[in-house]
Structure formats: C-alpha cells, structure tokens
C-alpha cells in the first residue's frame, strides 16, 4: 500500500534531494508533501494523512525538535514515525531526538543508501 511522506526542511534543494532518493529507491510513495519549517509541517499534518515524516532540526520559525514535541502531544499524529535528517550532531541533540521517540537520526551530508536503509527498516517494522 502506498504511503504518504512529509519532508520538512528549510532548504528546497535538500527537500528535492530527499524526495529523489526515496523515489529512486523503489518505495511505494503515494504523495510527497513538503514544509519549510515545523509550523508549516503542523499545518500539513492538519490537512493530510501522513505515514512518515522526515525532518531537519535547524529551521526558522519552528525547529524540528519543537515540531516533533508538538506531534507527540497530538492524539492523531503522535505515532507517526519520524526520522531526523540534520547537520546537528551533538550528543545532546541526538539524545533529545531519541527521547521524543524518533525512529532514526541521519546526519548531513548523507549517502543516499543511508536513507534507503533506514526507510526499509521502518517499513519492515510497520508491516
């Protein structure tokens, strides 16, 4: 069954790269949705059915960790799998993300295979 993906990153180039990596990896994606920050992402979640979120951390208006915190407080969105894709690599940041229950933490720059492998792992667990 096709799944809908929300990509959250203030860089449109990075959103494009992530979208293409997922597309060429053979995943059955229904629709890609995009947002430039956490605030916009919450608006997308409010109007669309989303199965997977890939989010940056360092973004204007609302950063990725605040966005995930707000997701976890929401009855409908709290169980959506989230993977962080970010340059932020301090242990404090990773620990905070993990405490919010994210399913993966990928650091930029990344090899396309890293995203593919992480998504395969998530899809396998959700089957």
């Amino acid at each position: 069954m096709a799944f809908n993906v929300l990509i959250v990153d203030d860089s449109m180039a990075m959103r494009s790269v992530i979208r293409k990596v997922i597309s060429i990896s053979g995943f059955d994606v229904g629709t890609f949705f995009e947002a430039g920050n956490g605030k916009e992402a919450l608006e997308v979640l409010n109007g669309q059915w989303i199965d997977l979120v890939l989010s940056d951390i360092n973004m204007p208006e609302m950063d990725g960790l605040t966005f995930v915190k707000k997701m976890r407080e929401h009855e409908i969105y709290k169980n959506i799998p989230v993977v962080m894709i970010t340059t932020e690599g301090s242990q404090a940041c990773i620990d905070e993300a993990m405490s919010l229950g994210v399913k993966g933490y990928i650091q930029k720059p990344f090899m396309p295979e890293v995203i593919k492998e992480k998504l395969e792992e998530i899809m396998e667990k959700t089957r």
């Binding site: 860089s11 180039a13 494009s16 973004m59 340059t87 932020e88 690599g89 301090s90």
Partner: protein, 155 residues
C-alpha cells in the same frame, strides 16, 4: 589556526562537496595561498555561526557563482532550459555553510550543547580586499570553477 583544526576544516569541506555533490575540491597549501592575489568573483557568500556558547565562532564560505549554479543543477536535477533561480542558488549556499559548520562541530565537540544559527547567503563581487584584510584564519580550495575561500572566526 593550529594544524589539527585546519585539517578538520579541510576534511569537512571536502566531505561535504564529495558526498552531496560528487565534486572534488583540492586544498591549496598555506605556502601557495600567497600566490592568490585576486578573487574577482562573482561569489556566493554563505555565513553561519554557533549559538549557545561564550565565544564567537563564525564560518564564512565564498563559492564561485558558476560553481553554485552547477551544484544547484545537480541537486535539483535541472538541465537544458530549466535554469535555476537566484533563490535556489542562495538556498544551496546556505545549506553548504550549514553542513560545513555542523560537521566541524560534530568532529570537534560532539558532547557540547551548542547549536547552529540560521545561515545567510548573498551574491557578492570581488572579495579580494575583504579576504585579504579579514585578519581571520582562511583556507582556499581549488575547483574547476575557481577558488573557494573559507574563513573561520573563533573569538
């Protein structure tokens, strides 16, 4: 800049360009940097800093305009008459600055609690006077499109 820090900065810049853009950039030795007397541009100038710590750390990166154009086309897979916009070029520059400084911090202070500021970018012309008089540490990289200049302020 001590040799270890210089090495980290050099490796990180190379990793970012090789991993994300499949592009090789060659560091120019300190001895040879003096031979670079002109950096006429145009350049895209990206800047980003570190927040959450007492000292000031800022990274400035200057990338030839034609190189940013080519890298952005690679990222967005635009070819032929589908040219990239200035907004897209600025976006790519900001993301490169973000990845370079983020990875420097990851390699030098992983246990820290520091975070990155929001990057900025702009198109500039001749950077020769600015780079020459900056008084901060710098590294040059040779590329097919010209010279990349990286300045690192650590106060």
């Amino acid at each position: 800049m001590n040799p270890a820090d210089r090495n980290v900065l050099t490796v990180v810049v190379q990793e970012v360009f090789e991993t994300m853009f499949f592009t090789f950039v060659d560091p120019i030795g300190e001895d040879e940097m003096g031979q670079v007397t002109s950096l006429p541009g145009p350049y895209f100038h990206g800047q980003i800093g570190v927040k959450g710590e007492d000292r000031k750390r800022v990274l400035d990166i200057f990338i030839p305009e034609k190189m940013i154009g080519s890298l952005t086309e690679t990222l967005l897979r635009k070819e032929g008459d589908k040219g990239v916009t200035k907004e897209e070029l600025i976006d790519t520059t900001k993301e490169i600055a973000n990845m370079v400084l983020g990875n420097i911090l990851n390699k030098t202070n992983k246990e820290g609690t520091q975070r990155l500021t929001t990057p900025t970018a702009e198109l500039v012309g001749d950077i020769s006077p600015f780079v020459k008089d900056s008084g901060v540490e710098r590294i040059y990289f040779e590329t097919d499109w010209g010279i990349i200049v990286v300045l690192f302020t650590c106060g």
